[in-house]
Amino acid sequence: MASIAGFCPSPPLSPPLEKASAEPRLANMLAAMSHRGSTPMAALLPPADLASGLPTVALAAGYMGQIPALYVDKASHMGVAFSGHLHNMEALLAHYGCPPQTSTAQLVQRAFAQEGLACTQRFLGSFAFAVCDEKQRLWLVRDGVGACPLFYAHGPEGFAFASEIKALFAGKHLQPKLNLHAINQSLRFWGPVLGFSHFEGAFALLPGMALCLDKGKLHMHRCWDVNLSQENICTQLSEEQALQTLDALFRDTVSKYLKTAPQLGAFLSGGLDSSLVCAVAHRQAGKLPTFSVAFEQARFDESEYQQRVAKAIGTEHRTLLVTDEEIGALLPQAVVHAEHMFLRSAPAPFLALSRWVAQHGIQSVLSGEGADEFFWGYDIYKETVLREFWARFPSSSIRPKLFARLYPYLSLSELPVEMLQSFYGIGLDKPKAWDFSHQIRWNNSGRIARFLSPAFTQATAHVSPEDTLRQSLPPSFETLPTMGKAQYLEMRSMLQNYLLPIQGESMLAAGALQGCFPFMDRRVVEFAASLPRRLKLLGLTEKYLLRRYGQRWVPPEVYQRPKFPYRAPIVEALLGKAPPPWVQTLLSKEAMETVGVFDADKCSKFMAKLRTLQKPPSEADAMALNALATTQLLAWHFVLSPPPPPPPPPLLWL
């Protein structure tokens, strides 16, 4: 795992580049991300003594393991800063005629010099990189799924980019200020959309996109997108054919990771997806350390399944128990790493897990992330199918009853059908609407808005989060079938703006771990998109094909097991018997008034209610509390009281 950073000033507002003036800014940027790697390197491009004018770009990167993540080609003055992992390095080295010891940054330089942006079509794995080409253009590129982050800021003084937003602040390219619209978006979609971040002026390069900075102007190019159109679906594909293709693809992907990823371990959640990854990897490697997290409370804990799978597969398994108290104590650090407010507390135990795994000498981890999105494991897909079925006969009193089967744990079975109609019948008259699949979820999370302060509501009222999200969708979106739209929205909102940046990447980065995601391999994602609907969702059986595939690899209780969402305690961790000290100060009325996002009076009453609750809190209440707490933490640690910057490391100049 490397961090990359760089900037190009725009004269005359900021001084032209020289090593002496560039060094402190670059070093501070890398210091802010020091958890990701070591030994920072830097370069000015093109080199001052060789360029006709002055250098235009300052590039910096750390090492990935023993391999430098920055490469400068002396002949062409091209430079590449690379973060991520390409698991088909062997084939790429052969294709571009590079010797075996070539670093990934060097390979990318060679590939980009030969084919330009088109070279990314050959890259498999996750990546975010920056290239300064011979024409003095700066390119930023991110893989299609979005497992490696890249942020940028563009102002009158120049352009800057980094793997994390805090580096933009550390390099003085941006002043930290919360973006209220982005917070408003997160309260509906769980994360900011359209490339916004939670900070004003800091933007995320969207997955599958390339940005080109040419003579001070930004241009965006799309490199890859998943094709979810009806025409792309192989309707005639048989179950056996699909299983064969999946087996070949999946084993190939896992074996590539085994060959290329250093010090590989795996996360084992006890669910189908990570069990499959672990089983296939263990079979091929003969040995695999696996890790999981356990909780004190049975309603969150999956350790029984984890033990069973680990025993059945035969991995060398370790479990970390994370207590409610530890979750509360870790939440501030999780927010600082994520640079994001979040509706669930799961990133905190994940942070503990990542650091603990790193202590065992692990540098890369396999995970089952992505399977639920691409093979349709989430309830949102079933919900959409049910609502679509119901919309064809809206007055039916039988069809809405299926929702009680979909969410048995929500006590819906106690609700009479007329109530289900009121709740799930929203938008039923417009089954072709762009947001048909996600209306219920977004309305549910949007209920957090009742805790917002009047000032916040007023300041954000003129921009609709839905309109902003809609702007981020490509024109082809409108032509997709309902389930294609559902998957696209799930990928663009939940996966890429919430799960991956928070759980999939930044917590891993906190332990300097590189994530390896076989289910997000581009070929696997494309294969899943081509599957007929019946192989993903058969009746109400989710991830049908993966369950069938699971029969070969994991015990029946795992492949038959219904989806169990990974969640962690919130109310118990923040307002329980031993609340962390920060709760008292940052969730006080005064602190809430200072931040101004939430209504201090209402939230104080709300927390008082939660403190005296005799039964487990509702999901909606727990999410509202987490949103409130993490927003307060975000404001405190970035805007109101940022920590002193870590000492800048010496740079190794290329």
């Binding site: 007329e418 109530m419 009121s422 509702s618």
Partner: protein
């Protein structure tokens, strides 16, 4: 001429009493909803579920509250939006049950 007048007075008083009774139900329910679900602005006629004022688990809490505060049981066949899914509907339903 005295008698009809007194009948008028009695029925007028009854209407007054009924209105104020319904008002008190309304304000009891409204403050329960504000205190429990932290929503201040909701219209008397708006669907709780559709407007997001109350979610599906909240409806159960609301029914519990109604049963305990007004001393009757809500039968399964009464758990319908016409009875419960707005402040207006709920007030009507409770006053029907109580009369």
């Amino acid at each position: 001429m005295g008698e009809p007048l007194s009948i008028l007075t009695v029925s007028f008083a009854f209407v007054l009493e009924k209105t104020s009774y319904m008002d008190s139900i309304r304000s009891t329910i409204r403050s329960f909803i504000s205190d429990t679900f932290f929503v201040d602005d909701f219209e008397d006629g708006a669907s709780f579920l559709k407007s997001g004022t109350i979610d599906s688990t909240g409806m159960m809490e609301l029914v519990n509250f109604v049963e305990q505060s007004f001393g009757f049981k809500v039968e399964d066949n009464e758990l319908v939006p016409e009875n419960l899914d707005s402040l207006d509907n709920l007030v009507q339903f409770i006053s029907r049950k109580k009369s």
